[in-house]
């Protein structure tokens, strides 16, 4: 018997918060991408915890699909980043201000 599910949910909340704050604070696009991965993992941890508590396999299936979508998202996102960097040499999100009003 592992620890109470509240601990897992709290850890997931902390992890999600760190990811969200990092997403807002950092300006390097790659690091912002990593912060998205942190938030996805926080959600995955919560899914697995609820799957255990409710004795339901649906949570683990959801994590499986989240993993697949995250992999596809990373592939396309990094391809976009490579395409952006190839055109202009800006290293941060602030350099992509072409659509600025």
């Amino acid at each position: 018997m592992t620890v109470n599910v509240s601990w897992y949910l709290t850890l997931g909340a902390i992890l999600f918060t760190i990811g969200a704050v990092g997403m807002l604070v950092r300006r390097n696009i790659l690091v912002m991408f990593m912060c998205i991965e942190l938030m996805l993992n926080a959600a995955n941890l919560t899914f697995v915890s609820f799957s255990r508590v409710l004795n339901d396999v649906g949570g683990q299936i959801s994590v499986f699909f989240v993993l697949i979508v995250a992999a596809a998202e990373v592939v396309v996102g990094l391809a976009i980043i490579v395409a952006i960097y190839r055109r202009r040499v800006g290293a941060t999100a602030d350099d992509q201000h072409l659509l600025k009003g």
Binding site: I18, M34, G58, R86
Partner: protein, 197 residues
């Protein structure tokens, strides 16, 4: 209260959880706080391994293996490849105020998000009714249970993900293709030329 919550668990399980939780949080903080993107990526590996340990701790062995293979084996390596390819591993100021009051605003958002999630998590929102996915325990090995559910109840979403992966691969190839002189002239190439000039 803390000892009461931990009392339900055996000592090895408690120790495993605490160690993995510390690894996860330290890794996440490292991702955000390190100035060098390469260090951030390595810290991300640490966090993902900690999550995998927590998956094993909760009897999700299949997902723990997939987590290590897909995330640390493929995703982070892809991140590192892109960092090396682009040569953007230079340092940056982490907490720059791009617009006025950004740090203050970010801190407020972070506190709000944390308290909101903890508040929501501290209440009982589930009815306890079983879903169509089926029970998790006493059904055989973890892989068997997931596989059975995936290939019966969730067969259509599973097939749709194959289309998603194909689209992602084709999209990545198209996006990262270099538009040289020998490439056929398309609308997109002309747009690119106009964009550059």
């Amino acid at each position: 209260m803390m000892s009461g919550l931990l009392a339900a668990a055996t000592l090895p399980d408690s120790i495993t959880f605490v160690v993995a939780a510390v690894i996860v949080v330290l890794g996440a903080l490292g991702v955000v706080l390190y100035k060098n993107p390469v260090h951030s990526a390595l810290m991300l590996v640490m966090t993902l391994f900690g999550i995998a340990v927590l998956f094993v701790e909760q009897d999700a062995q299949f997902l723990a293996a997939v987590q290590v293979i897909v995330y640390t084996g493929a995703v982070v390596v892809l991140f590192l490849f892109v960092i090396m390819l682009l040569g953007v591993d230079r340092r940056e100021t982490v907490f720059a105020d791009t617009f006025k009051g950004q740090r203050l605003f970010t801190g407020l958002v972070g506190i709000c998000v944390l308290f909101e999630i903890v508040y929501l998590g501290s209440r009982d929102w589930t009815t306890g009714a079983p879903s169509v996915a089926g029970a998790l325990r006493n059904q055989g090995a973890n892989v068997n249970v997931i596989g059975k559910s995936l290939f019966t109840t969730y067969l259509l979403p599973f097939e749709v993900t194959s289309a998603l992966l194909v689209v992602a691969v084709i999209g990545a190839v198209v996006l990262s293709r270099r538009h040289g002189e020998d490439a056929p002239s398309t609308d997109r190439d002309r747009e690119t030329a106009e964009f550059k000039s």
